[in-house]
């Protein structure tokens, strides 16, 4: 396998990691091999089954060809050998905010986490590079028996639970990038909500890529037991770097009968990041899974939050927005598989492209022959802000049962001069007017977010509209 050889050559001078005395950092040299994978697992003191799972996944990653669809030219530019696959910037997982190293704390202070926590958080896992450095759980959550840990701690403390569900939704052979994640994953969240427990407040985690050439491979697993509910919120901001960076996460959701999981994300990657994420959930009988997914920035995003409607009466919703600017391609959408009768699904996808940005909606909805009386609704809207930008829609519906009720709507629109003039005549500059139109377009998504995220997204889009005129 040429990939394998290349990878091995690149890490020929592999060292077992080195320690940065300043930051207590362990990081590997660039590139990947089976040895690196084993070493990561060893450093984390993982059980053998996890080590072997990683190695199997690594081999699948190496052997699996690149996807032949989507933006293949951008995918072809990824240099796997120039990526560092493991970096730990702080020795231990901190429980108390005050114990978090100052430099890191400053970064999070700027992101407003402590304040946000008071208002919204039930617990915080703030991912700094590869590992959680700050992690707290509100007492009431603990009392309810909810487990909320970073994934590494989850594996240590609840190995049986992890072993039962890990890779049960996204198998290690699923795709090239999920295999890579399974091989080198680090960090992410592990959540278990016991039967009948309703977590009232959104649970939140911040992720951040913060080192040059730093690949981030967090792994999140959420299990909502029968009749329980949880809203998980994930936000990403990334500083700009001059070399390419790879983010390849895997998120697995399991909603057992009657459970409800909502997973909200707003990601704002710098324009050199490859964001290749596999998100999938399984909804059992009468369970409900909702993905609320906002994608801003990155060089290339390929992300299609998926729900497998496995049990009768299950419901899936995917509400997503994508914003692509100069040199950016958002290839995003949703996948929903109706395997059982009386299952319902709804997809709302909104994309904006500007300054030559490219937005692609790629969706797949399937209804299996045995699934009776399913209802599915797909709406995708695109807003194109200038002549250089582009929007494509690839909706796929494979309906193998005639009792299904399917609805599909798509629209492409442009901002008109008259719309801008109307808003400008009310005292708003051209940039402000454009931001109002853009934020209005995203509003059906924004209103689903916790308020601080909605505000942040609106501000972000206003910033994006700056300098876009003339």
């Amino acid at each position: 396998m040429p990939d394998n050889q290349e990878a091995r050559e690149a890490v020929g001078d592999y060292k077992a990691g080195w320690k940065d005395t300043e930051n207590s950092t362990i990081r590997f040299d660039f590139g990947l091999s089976e040895e690196v994978v084993r070493e990561i697992s060893k450093l984390k003191e993982e059980p053998e089954w996890m080590t072997e799972l990683r190695v199997k996944a690594y081999n699948h990653f190496v052997n699996r060809p690149m996807p032949k669809w989507g933006n293949t030219s951008a995918l072809g530019e990824i240099d796997f050998d120039s990526i560092c696959y493991y970096l730990r910037s702080s020795e231990t997982t901190e429980k108390d905010w005050d114990d978090v190293p100052e430099e890191i704390r400053n970064t999070f202070d700027r992101l407003g986490i402590p304040e946000a926590e008071q208002k919204w958080l039930s617990g915080v896992t703030a991912q700094y590079e590869s590992e959680a450095v700050y992690h707290s759980i509100r007492e009431d959550l603990e009392k309810q028996g909810v487990i909320f840990l970073d994934m590494d701690s989850g594996l240590k403390e609840y190995p049986d639970l992890v072993k039962k569900w890990f890779c049960s939704v996204v198998p290690l052979t699923d795709n090239k990038f999920s295999a890579l994640n399974t091989a080198v994953w680090s960090g992410g969240s592990f959540i278990y909500v016991p039967k009948g427990v309703h977590v009232e407040m959104p649970v939140q985690a911040y992720f951040r890529i913060n080192a040059k050439n730093m690949g981030q491979f967090e792994r999140t697993l959420i299990i909502a037991d029968e009749g329980s509910s949880i809203h998980y919120v994930e936000g990403c901001t990334a500083p700009s770097y001059s070399t390419d960076s790879l983010h390849s996460a895997v998120v697995e959701l399991i909603a057992l009968p009657g459970a409800h999981i909502r997973y909200s994300t707003v990601q704002n990657w710098s324009s050199n990041v490859y964001n290749l994420v596999t998100k999938r959930g399984i909804a059992h009988e009468n369970a409900k899974i909702e993905w609320v997914d906002g994608n801003i920035g990155s060089k290339l995003t390929m992300k299609y939050p998926a729900v497998i409607l496995k049990g009768e009466g299950a419901h899936a919703e995917v509400i997503s927005v994508a914003y692509s600017g100069d040199g950016q391609h958002q290839d995003a959408g949703a996948k929903i598989h109706h395997l059982a009768s009386n299952t319902t699904s709804k997809i709302l996808s909104k994309s904006i492209s500007k300054n030559g940005g490219r937005g692609t909606y790629r969706g797949q909805v399937t209804v299996s022959p045995k699934a009776e009386n399913c209802k599915l609704n797909v709406v995708c809207d695109a807003l194109i802000l200038d002549e250089e930008s582009r929007s494509d829609t690839y909706p796929t519906m494979e309906v193998a049962n005639p009792t299904a009720r399917c609805e599909h709507e798509a629209s492409v629109s442009k901002v008109s001069d008259d719309q801008l003039f109307y808003l400008m005549s009310r005292g708003h500059s051209e940039e402000e007017a454009l931001a109002m139109i853009v934020n209005g377009f995203f509003e059906p998504f924004t209103r689903e977010l916790p308020m601080e995220y909605a505000v942040e997204l609106n501000q972000l889009m206003a910033l994006e509209m700056e300098g876009s005129i003339g």
Binding site: M424, G427, E430, A433, M436, I437, E443, P444
Partner: protein, 261 residues
């Protein structure tokens, strides 16, 4: 300085204004002066240049001013962007207000008031009270605030919303472009009450652009100007509206032609 622009204390002056769009001349030399507290009306048929006049005063980028000037309180507006004109007190009630899906009426009003009258004006209980009073006067239900700007509005709702904005933005110069068209008599009365509340007894002025004299019965303008073929062919007091109503635009045209001859 021309004679027209020399009028002391003028709120707005249009001086020998020539305007074209895509190489076609539309306004061919217009002069008009509005003093504080005055209501003027421009009447004319479709295509006479009425909406062009309104758009040019507000600063629509598609129009080219070939000659002449528009001054507000003695300063030319022509180099100012539309939002700067708005902040200086120019308001246009649109003939065809634009829909902005997803932009909530309540938020939009607050942002517009903050932008034009300052942050303080858009805050707290005072603003809420002002808003409620204006909505009551215009018979607009509270549920309106959570709708999206002009999105799915009926013709009448759009026009009421324009007047609501005018009342809250407190312009120095309000231009109403065919605000009465498509309204029933109750709607016209409501709109007229809004205009009267905004202008009468204040230092503000209004320019009402219309086909019909109906709204003028309720607003009672101080001056009426008849625009034909890009020129004001007649100006006069309220009686001009009645004459127009009785004799039609052809009559004015003939009178104007005789005068020229």
């Amino acid at each position: 300085m021309t004679a027209a622009s020399g009028r002391a204390g003028a709120l707005m002056e249009i001086v020998d204004l020539h305007v074209g769009i895509d190489g076609t001349s539309i306004l061919k030399g217009i002069d008009l002066t509005i003093l504080p507290g005055e209501v003027h009306a421009i009447m004319g048929r479709n295509g006479s240049g009425k909406t062009t006049a309104a758009n040019v005063i507000m600063g629509h980028p598609d129009y080219e001013v070939e000659k002449g000037d528009v001054l507000l309180n003695g300063d030319s507006l022509l180099d100012e962007d539309p939002w700067e004109r708005a902040r200086q007190g120019v308001f246009l009630s649109f003939q065809y207000p634009q829909a902005v899906p997803g932009l909530q009426v309540g938020n939009f009003l607050r942002k517009s008031v903050a932008s034009i009258r300052g942050e303080e004006a858009a805050k707290g209980a005072d603003f809420r009270k002002e808003l409620n009073e204006a909505m009551d006067q215009l018979k607009i239900p509270r549920s309106f605030l959570s709708r999206y700007v002009n999105d799915g509005f009926s013709g009448g709702e759009k026009k009421r919303f324009e007047i609501l904005q005018m009342m809250l933005l407190k312009p120095k110069l309000a231009i109403l472009d065919e605000t009465d068209s498509g309204l029933d008599i109750d709607g016209i009365k409501t709109v007229a009450s809004g205009v009267n509340a905004a202008v009468r007894g204040t230092d503000s002025g209004a320019l009402i652009i219309t086909h019909y004299s109906r709204i003028l019965e309720h607003v009672k303008p101080d001056f009426i100007h008849v625009l034909i073929g890009g020129k004001i062919v007649a100006s006069g007091g309220p009686e001009l509206a009645t004459q127009l109503e009785e004799n039609g635009y052809d009559w004015v045209e003939n009178v104007a032609a005789e005068e020229v001859a």
